[in-house]
Symmetry: C2
Subunit: 208 residues, 2 copies
């Protein structure tokens, strides 16, 4: 089985269980197998279809109801199959979504961890710092390195804790594993998107 998550910079493939990335403008091989994909980038979709005939857009088979307007496809895919949980996708931005009794209740979008870190030295040369992942979050900082490290972590952690109501928190994305360590009853699912793409296929016999 071949799965493909088309983002704005790369094709992210899962080819018979193995991950493989290609840049969007790269020439793709012909896989001689059906490719199930989701895409947020039209020229990426075009590129995939140019080299492969047997492709299926899973967005057409996704059933996800929400009152949220403008929710990205990746976010929807990350949320399905989680009946009561907070889903956090920590990438270039950090999306936080709430599922309750099988329904999507809304969400919010924090800046990405790296983007926030890079802000400080760009604001002032006096705010150059090395991030301290071991900063004590229960003590008010007493030096610049800790003052910034503490503030970055608190600015991400507190808004999530603030809406939490004992639910499990499911982390995914590049910084998901790191951030999950600051929350009790949380797990990190590296392949949440691929897992849920498989769920959509399994639920739709006609395309399996």
């Amino acid at each position: 089985m071949i799965l493909c998550d088309i983002g704005n910079t790369t094709f992210h493939f899962l080819i018979n269980g193995k991950e493989k990335k290609y840049f969007l403008n790269e020439k793709l091989p012909s896989f001689n197998q059906r490719v199930y994909y989701i895409s947020v980038n039209d020229s990426g979709t075009k590129n995939l279809k140019y080299s492969n005939d047997d492709v299926i857009d899973l967005e057409n088979h996704l059933e996800f109801k929400t009152k949220y307007k403008g929710m990205g496809l990746d976010r929807k895919i990350a949320c399905i199959a989680n009946k009561d949980a907070i889903i956090v996708d920590a990438g270039s931005a950090i999306t936080v979504d709430i599922m309750k009794k099988g329904k999507h209740k809304g969400g919010f979008i924090l800046p990405g961890f790296k983007a926030i870190k890079d802000l400080y030295p760009n604001t002032s040369h006096k705010l150059q710092f090395d991030f301290n992942p071991k900063v004590n979050l229960d003590k008010i900082p007493l030096c610049t390195q800790d003052a910034i490290s503490y503030a970055i972590l608190k600015s991400i952690i507190q808004p999530i804790k603030n809406i939490r109501n004992k639910q499990q928190i499911i982390f995914t994305g590049g910084d998901g594993e790191f951030l999950s360590k600051y929350f009790k009853n949380s797990i990190y699912k590296k392949d949440l998107i691929f897992e849920n793409m498989k769920r959509i296929i399994d639920a739709n016999n006609c395309i399996a």
Copy 2:
């Protein structure tokens, strides 16, 4: 009385009660009055001294004890005379300091409000948005504009609320007035730095 706060881009004067700004490389007038100043920029200090002979550096008369290493002069000046309060200077960065029983207990540094806002469209064109200052912070957002506005405000408000213990919060700086509206028992002091510079002068008869 003439007060001057020398930052990294401007001279901020209070000349007999009236504010006046000059750029750091601008030619300053000779005021023919004593100028009390604080400075975080050496070439600014040099420029002031070039056009004015009677100048007094208030840093030499500042008594501020703290275990915090690398605390900026502006932050120290903002904190003095506040025995039990949280002092928030919301400018290009947002500094948060805790004073308790007359002692500085530490602090942290959040990114500036404008800097965080500008991060989103730079991360993805899909995160273009107009900030909604009226977003309901007690409801999970249901559209992108609110999802971002909510997250920005929560990422600033929650870390401050998290360390608060019923103390008053004193806001200053360009975004201070706006942010103060999200906190009970808070006040905005536009001229906190100048007020406290006057306090240092009053406490030191020899220079008054």
